[in-house]
Every structure is written in C-alpha cells, then in structure tokens.
C-alpha cells in the first residue's frame, strides 16, 4: 500500500502541479474583482496575496517535512490514531470534492455560455469525466506526467496576450496609489482566493522524489502564478477604461475578443477551448486528492471505484440541480471562507500537533 515510492514525480512536475492547483477558472473574472475593490492599483494587492499564500505553503511544507513520505491520510493516522484519523478524513474529502466539483461546474458553465448553450450540463460533465477518470485512477505518477505535458503544450498562451497590448493606454495605471492603501488592503481579501491551492501540497509533496528542493519548487510555482495573474490584470487595466472593467463579467474574454488574425477570427473561442486543458489540471488534481483520501479511508489501494463514484455523483448533482452562474458565485464565497480556514489556520494547528508529538516522544524517551 506504500504507493509513494512507486508514484514518484519529478521537480518540474511538482512545480507544475502546484501552479495548476492555483490557476483555475478564476483568471477570467480576476481583473473585475480587483477593479471593483481596489481600482487600478489592484495589482499591488495581487502581490500581497501572493506573499500570504506562499507563506501558507511554507507552513504546510514545514509540517510535511517531518513525515516525508506520508500523505495527509497517513499523517492523520500517525498523529491521531487510526479511528480518529479516519474520522478527520471525512471533512477533508468533502472539502476537496467540493472544490474539484466547483471548478468542474465553473468550466461547465463557461462551456455552456460560450459554446454549447443547449447541451445539457450533465452531459458536458460526463464528457470531461472520461479523461478525468482515465488519469485519476492511475495515480499520481500519471497525473504528474499529464500536468507536465499540458503545461508545455499550453505554454504559448500568455504570449498571445501581448498582441493587443500595443493598443493599450498605459496611462490608465497612473497615478499609483491614488487613493492610498485602504483600497489595496480591501482588494487583498478578494484576490487571496485566486492563489489558493496550497492545500494540495498535502498530497503532492510526499510523491516528490527530490525533497530537498521542495521549498524552491513551491516558490517557483507560486511566482509563475503571480506573473501570469499580474500580466493578465495589467493587460486588462491598460486596455479597458477603469470604470468599464466593473461592468465586464469576464474582462479576459473581452480582451481576447479583440485579437483577430487574417486566417482566424474570434480567436477567443479557440483560446477558451484550449484553456480547458489548463483548467482540467486543476479539477483533476483536486478530484485526485479527494479520491485518494477516499481510497485510504476504505483501505483500498485501487482508485478506480472511488473515481467512478465521484464522477457519477458529480454528473448526477448537475443533472438534478442544474447550477447557475449566481450559484457558482455564491459557492465561491463559501469556498473562500473554507479555504482560508483550511489553508491558513489548519496547517498551523497541524504544526502544533506535530511539534507536540515530537516533544512527547522526546519526553517519553528520556
């Protein structure tokens, strides 16, 4: 059952995994959220959010470093015993499933709005369930490979955003700090969630082969996300009027709509379709975390059954409930709060527990 040794991932895959857990569908509406709360100085709040999240990731790594080959379920078992450990897994599974499910549903809503308005939502979810199933049931090794190859395949995407940039008015960004620091601090809360993703470290770190570079990898991954978000946000601020961005639901899509080539109009559709690869990394990673914990809960090494169950339930919920954009928005606020607790408060608690156990152990041996 010790699968971590067989399922090793390289440093590059580790970096890409962390990066993909942070970048989901939020990037489309990020500029608007920032503009709403902090105006055109909001790009500074991105920097602050990045710093906060990276710090949280470091705390998680500090915890995991004591138990290098143990994923979260194993950690629970070692710290709290078998029964309590299993009991604690249940809210964890709920959290990751909810997160993965909401990313999946968000993608489904985008697809329905932009491409297939009349196709039923559950059908779209089922379509994407097929590759998700194929990857998740094969474990972290295959997931790492998939994430890496999608990263290389889609690395060219940000370059296309350079094209409309020369029509931009950089003057929109001036003056910096026009209203002071208050709006920036207000904006931090909204952008904090876009960097969320460190909690998957609980499941990624144990599989890393080269554990000495874990902190470097974390830093690089987070910075990659930072650069991407800054680039997108600043492009949107430069190209759109400051008061206009608040009216655009997905400023990034409007930005892409302006890119046109002689041989390909409406580049934004192609871009959004290919962007689904990037988003798929996010929901597959979160689903994997949930499914992995579920198979640990039932002490099975095989991920096939939990994966199938998870995907079928997801499709069923979409079939019965038919989510809307407003619901997706509301569930995002719920997730933000959950994420703050889970990513910031919980690792500190764990760290205390780990240190406590260490102290106890030392006391006992004396």
């Amino acid at each position: 059952m010790r699968t971590t040794a067989l399922n090793e991932i390289t440093l590059m895959q580790y970096i890409v995994l962390i990066h993909s857990s942070q970048v989901g569908t939020g990037i489309f509406s990020l500029p608007r959220k920032i503009a709403d709360s902090s105006g055109t100085d909001g790009w500074i709040s991105i920097l602050i959010a990045w710093a906060a999240n990276t710090l949280a990731g470091c705390v998680i790594l500090l915890v995991m470093r004591k138990y290098p080959d143990d994923t979260l379920p194993d950690l629970f078992r070692k710290l709290f015993g078998k029964a309590v450990g299993k009991l604690l897994l249940i809210p964890v599974i709920a959290y990751y499933s909810y997160y993965g499910f909401s990313v999946l549903v968000n993608s489904m809503l985008y697809i329905k709005a932009w491409f297939l308005p009349y196709t039923p939502g559950y059908l779209i979810v089922l379509l994407f369930a097929v590759p998700t199933f194929m990857i998740v049931r094969n474990g972290m090794r295959v997931l790492g490979r998939y994430v890496e190859i999608v990263f290389y395949m889609m690395a060219w995407m940000p370059l296309f955003l350079l094209i409309p940039l020369d029509q931009g008015h950089w003057i929109h960004l001036l003056p910096v700090l026009k209203e002071g620091w208050k709006p920036i601090v207000r904006g931090v809360h909204d952008t904090l969630f876009s960097f969320a993703g460190m909690e998957t470290l609980f499941f990624i770190y144990p599989f890393l082969r080269d554990k000495k570079r874990a902190f470097h990898g974390l830093f690089i991954a987070s910075s990659l996300t930072l650069v991407l978000y800054l680039f997108v946000t600043i492009s949107c601020f430069v190209l759109f009027a400051p008061d206009e961005i608040g009216m655009l639901n997905q400023p990034l899509m409007n930005l892409l709509k302006t890119i046109e080539f002689r041989f390909l109009e409406r580049f934004d559709m192609i871009f959004l379709a290919l962007y689904l690869f990037v988003v798929s990394r996010c929901w597959i990673l979160y689903s994997f975390s949930a499914i992995y914990s579920a198979s640990r809960l039932f002490d099975r090494p095989d991920h096939t059954k939990p994966a199938a169950v998870f995907l079928v339930i997801a499709a069923a919920i979409v079939f019965v409930h038919q989510p809307t954009w407003n619901e997706a928005d509301r569930s995002e606020t719920v997730l933000t709060i959950l994420n703050e607790w889970y990513m910031f408060a919980f690792p500190v608690v764990l760290y205390v527990a780990v240190k406590g156990k260490e102290l106890l152990g030392r006391l006992r041996s004396e």
């Binding site: 039923p120 059908l123 003057i171 003056p175 026009k178 206009e244 709509k257 302006t258 109009e265």
Partner: protein, 369 residues
C-alpha cells in the same frame, strides 16, 4: 456485461448531444446592421445578409423593419430570411445621424456586448443621411456591400481619413470619464464617400463632424502613430494662375514624436504639446530648392501646422468635448484636481490652455528636386 452496459449508455448519451449544431449553410449572417429613425421618429432597423444559394439571382437579402430593439428586429428578420439570423460575424453598424442626436442610442447595441457568441469588434459608422438608402445601395463595380463598406472603412482609417472605432472601444469610451468618442462618417451621393470623422459628446450624442485633414490632426493629438499622415501647405503669398495652383506642397509624415506636459495653474489645466516630425516631401508644385531653402520651408510648415492645430483645438473646446483623451492625462498627472471636475470634464477642458509646438524636419525630398 458491465462493459456492454457502459458502451450502450455512452452511445445513448452521446446521441442526445446534437442540439447546438447549426450548419454553416443554415445561417444568415447579419453582416451589416443599420439603425435609424424614420420619418415618424420611430426606430428602423435594416439588416443585410448574404445569400448562398446558387439559384438566387441577387446575392444579398435586405430587410428593413421597425422594431423596438435589435433583438426584436432579429425576430422580424427571421420571418423572411432564409436561415437563422445570426450576429456572430457582423462587420458594420450603420447609425443614422438622426438617431445619433438622441440620447441613449448606444444602449441599443447592448445584445452585441452581452451575448458571448456575438462579436464586438465590428466597426461603427455614422451615416449622414437615411441608412436604408445606403443598405439598398448595390453598385455593379464593387463587391458585396458588407465587404465593400468594411474594406472602405478599413483602408480609409489606415490613411487616417477617418477614425475607425469598434463596438468594444466605444463601450470603453462610454465609461471613460476623460475621453469622448469619435467615429467614422460616410455619406451616400451616387457613391459611398467617407466624409471624415464624427465627434460625440460625453453622453454619446453627435456634436460635430471633422474632415480628413482634421482627422489627421486629431490623430496626432491623440499620439496615435498608426497609418499614413499627409499634410498640404501653401507656400508664401504667391497666387498665380488659379487653374494650376503653383504654391501647393504636401508632406508625408514618416515618423513623429509627441511630448505632452500636463499641468495646472490659475485654476485651469494646461497641456503643452511638442511635436517633432520627420517628413518626406511628397509633392511640390513650385520651384524652390529644398536643399538650400529647407529652413524656410520648415519654418513655414511649423507655422501653418500650429495654426491648423489651434483651429481644431478651438473647435473642440467650443463644443465642450474631449476626443483627444486629455482627461486621462489630467487624471494621471493631476489626480486631485481631476477628481473635482471629473464629472464635467468637457467644461473643464473648454477652460483649459492647450498649446502646440511643432518642429518639422524634411528627411528626404524624393527623386527630383
């Protein structure tokens, strides 16, 4: 057995997923949409759509209806057009001048910004006259009207004869407090002619038109470097035979740099432009050696250009609009003063002090002296 069930389920589900299909030949593209007010002051929406059938004799179908909004008009169109009307490839919006004098006309274009499948990079053009006449215009020596008009506006804007504004840009400017819109303007008089640009005020209502020369000046004031800019001048006080003007000359601007200094003094904003222009001599209808007398020519050009700029700026200030976008500079460099006047920028600009200094250098005179 389980596998068989899974396969059957897959097939059943997949077959049910065909609802969004719209074959290409089943689509009527609304390539040009014209909105105007008719004689009874009611909205009139005209749509021009290409016909793909080989059996049709005329390649375009046009429908002119009265309706409350664009979406309602689409329903009307679907009553006669061969296929589904669709706005995914609209190239042009033709807005009548009568309509553009009314407040809130821009809200009519809402569905094209709201629906994701619609494009928002189509050009918006003001028509000086009734739109329905332009829509029914079908010259024999030109391609289809949508393609012809689109190309016309594109090439004209590249020559800086008019300012090409897309729907997305207009939407941006609508929200911009520091800039007012400018659009291309055309007129139908046996042929379609681009008149120049139309300038709107901050509510989006039509204010004034400017010609090709002034459009070029406006572009320079906006510090837009794209496209060709040509200026013509008159030399000295000569006025010989009026049939053949022998004191005209033209330059083609190869490159120019613009420096703008924003300031605030005595309760008004000050804007100082400094243009450095590299010009190529394109036409000279009198004998003057450019090599020897270049300083004379340059000084004359500087003076005449500064006059032209001042005249245009005067017009703009009088109309209390800001097509140049100076409000953005005011906000960037004088934020606290800007905040006080941001909601009535047109008036503030009318009081402002805008100065232009031009410095032309003749880079080349061409192949002959």
């Amino acid at each position: 057995m389980k596998r068989l069930l899974a396969v059957l389920l897959a097939i059943a589900l997949l077959v049910s997923g065909c609802m969004d299909r719209k074959d290409i030949e089943d689509i009527s593209l609304a390539l040009i949409i014209g909105i105007d007010l008719n004689d009874e002051d009611k909205l009139q929406i005209s749509t021009s759509s290409p016909v793909f059938s080989r059996e049709a004799k005329i390649k375009t179908e046009i429908n002119i209806v009265g309706a409350d909004s664009l979406r309602a008009a689409r329903d009307e169109n679907d009553r006669t057009f061969t296929a589904y009307t669709s706005g995914g490839k609209t190239q042009l919006f033709l807005i009548g001048k009568k309509l553009m004098r009314r407040e809130g006309w821009f809200k009519l274009l809402d569905p094209f910004l709201r629906e994701p499948k619609n494009t928002s990079s189509m050009c918006i053009v003001l028509v000086d006259g009734p739109v329905s006449e332009v829509m029914s215009f079908n010259p024999r020596d030109k391609p289809r009207l949508p393609i012809y008009l689109t190309r016309l506006v594109d090439t004209a804007s590249r020559r800086n004869l008019c300012i090409r504004t897309t729907l997305q840009e207009l939407h941006s400017i609508d929200y911009e407090k520091g800039k007012t819109a400018s659009l291309a303007e055309l007129r139908l008089a046996n042929k379609v002619i681009i008149k120049g640009s139309a300038l709107l005020n901050e509510k989006g209502i039509y204010k004034m038109s400017i010609g090709a020369d002034e459009t070029r000046l406006l572009r320079m004031l906006q510090t837009e470097k794209a496209g060709e800019i040509l200026f013509s001048f008159k030399h000295g006080n000569k006025s010989g035979d009026p049939a053949v003007p022998d004191n005209a000359y033209m330059i083609n601007i190869q490159k120019y740099t613009a420096k703008l200094k924003t300031g605030y003094s005595d309760g008004r904003f000050t804007f100082d432009y400094r243009f450095k222009i590299r010009a190529l001599l394109a036409e000279k209808l009198f004998s003057l050696d450019p090599l020897q007398e270049d300083k004379v020519l340059q000084a004359e050009m500087n003076r005449q250009l500064e006059e032209k700029f001042t005249r245009l700026i005067g017009k703009i200030q009088q109309a209390k609009i800001d097509p140049i976008g100076l409000g953005n500079y005011a906000r960037a460099y004088r934020y606290s003063e800007w905040k006080k006047v941001q909601n009535r920028w047109g008036e503030a600009l009318a009081d402002a002090d805008i100065r232009v200094r031009v410095d032309v250098t003749i880079a080349s005179m061409g192949a002959i002296r």
